[in-house]
Amino acid sequence: MWIYAIQRTLYAIPIAVGVSIICFGLVYLAPGDPIQSLLPPDATVEDVAMIRRLYGLDQPLPIQYLEWLMRALTGDLGTSLQTNRPVSYEVFNALGNTLSIAIGAVLLAFILAFALGTLAAYNRGKLIDKFATGISAVGISIPNYWLAIVLVIVFAVTFRVLPATGMGSGGSETFNWFDWNQVKYAVLPMLTLAMIPLGVVTRSTRSAVADTLGQDFVQMLRAKGLSNVAILTHAVRNALPQILAVMGLQLGYLIGGSILIETIFTWPGTGFLMSKAILTRDIPLLQGTILVLALSFVLINLVVDLLQTLVDPRIKRA
């Protein structure tokens, strides 16, 4: 197992390098000369030439990439054009905010989906099974940015019980998870973000538990005279590693995919940062945020894979 763990970790390195190449290349997708995205439109010719030399943009591309990579490895992701603050400062400040609602959403989804999926698998074809299947279909088909608007209409406009946007007066500096006056700002974003994982995890719990219930050892347990609850406990324990893996991936997707939800709720996370960067054409900020998010996703995938082999030694991979 240790050999697999080392192999898997080493394998993440070329992936991370590839991710950095794509992020580096993104600047060249931007229309026009990349220098234009670094400078105001009214910059003089001398300024352009100076900045070009300063940023090393007169060098060949592979050298530019290596220099950029070296700077990125030391934590220098450039400077935001809008705020003039280091990109790394902006991104890591925002990352915490995104992580907190993403983790909250995944936990919420997991608790609901796990209960629902297990019940559905145990009562195949019954009403609860149909309900679970319906929930999972709705969860993955509903545009969550639209659901966000609907929730705002219901909870913030009609009943006025929850705030529609923002993160409270103190912002992330003083955010405290044990103070309702601040946590209430996170409720709607978390609920909306939980929809997709709810659908996906319900579906995979249902099929994983149903699969284990059909295995020979369950027949044996039944023949031994175990109660239904005891049998279900065995089945769930066997299905759990697979479900946890799905959940881990969902966390990764939420961290990378919360842009729309954060934009609607003006939640100051990485998604909101990206949407601001897109709006103001702040390419260094956009590039830095995407790099950090994609590398986090690689890291989460790695951790999920390693944890899964740890929990379930049956998994042998090539």
Partner: protein, 300 residues
């Protein structure tokens, strides 16, 4: 559900063809599908949605671009404005019909392109093996390392938005997974006896691929691709919600939803309409895809 299909199907087949003629794969699939009522219903919804988008110029009661200062944000059921009007007084029904063109196209086209490119790359990687396989599949792994929303936003966002950049972004998002599925299927089939036999009789690689491989790779790729259409619709609408979609005033469901956001306090129901349209179409594609999966999985 699937166990009753056998005798029923056999009886039907008897009526048209002699009993000894085996049924083709697609024939079985079509028969299984026609027995699945839910799938038929949702397939009908999809067909209606596509037809109403195609024939929008004929069906639409108003010009989708005609603004009216005095008829802004009318509620649903207003005379001559069946579904109300938007923030510029444009007829919602007409705009939803026209908007379906862009939204459905952005759901289907990227998946089609990705099936073509990703499928071919996968077949190539699986058939050639060795260095070619490593080169193609490891490149795919890198793109796979991005969450789909992030990759779409990254490409479309840096390119500055617009329908073309959205199309490119979504196609790139879907290529890796389709490529993987095609590669796995090709690798499995390549080592089967009938392919060896074809090679032994002197068939060229090209004819083996086109005659034996493609036909067997297509079903798994097709099943997976059908589930991607719903994802593509949601992602495309999401991109235009962020202002990265088609340029206004051309209507698009995601962009309509985004523009109407400011009016949710005045006409919440009208503002919810584009979202409902996205939801219904995406749900239908998802459920039809599930139905297809059941129908095409011969082993079940």
């Amino acid at each position: 559900m699937t166990t009753e299909i056998g005798p029923v199907a056999a009886r039907r087949a008897d009526a048209v063809t002699p009993a000894y003629k085996p049924k083709g794969y697609w024939h079985t699939v079509a028969e299984r599908l026609s027995d699945d009522k839910a799938t038929i219903v949702f397939l009908t919804i999809i067909i209606l949605a596509i037809l109403s988008a195609v024939f929008a110029p004929i069906i639409a009661p108003h010009d989708p671009y005609a603004t009216s200062m005095i008829a802004r944000l009318k509620p649903i059921g207003t005379e001559s404005y069946l579904l109300g009007t938007d923030e510029l007084g444009r007829d919602m029904l007409s705009r939803l019909l026209y908007g379906g063109r862009m939204s459905l196209a952005m759901g289907i086209l990227p998946v089609l392109f990705a099936v073509g490119i990703g499928g071919l790359l996968g077949v190539l990687a699986g058939f050639a093996g060795g260095v070619t396989n490593t080169l193609i599949m490891r490149t795919m792994d890198v793109f796979y390392a991005f969450p789909s929303v992030l990759l779409a936003v990254a490409i479309s966002g840096t390119m500055g938005g617009g329908a073309a950049s959205g199309l490119l972004a979504l196609t790139l998002v879907f290529i890796p997974s389709l490529c993987r599925i095609a590669e796995t299927a090709t690798t499995q089939i390549r080592s089967l006896d009938f392919v060896e036999a074809a090679r032994a009789t002197g068939a060229s690689s090209l004819s083996i691929i086109s005659r034996h491989i493609i036909g067997n790779v297509l079903p798994p790729v097709f099943i997976y691709a059908s589930s991607l259409v719903s994802v593509s619709i949601l992602l495309a609408a999401g991109l235009s919600f962020l202002g990265l979609g088609v340029e206004p005033p051309t209507p698009d469901w995601g962009q309509m939803l985004s523009n109407l956001r400011q009016a949710i306090y005045i006409q919440p129901l009208v503002c919810a309409l584009p979202g409902i349209a996205i939801f219904i179409v995406s749900l239908s594609f998802n459920l039809v895809s599930d139905g297809l999966r059941h129908a095409m999985d011969v082993k079940s």
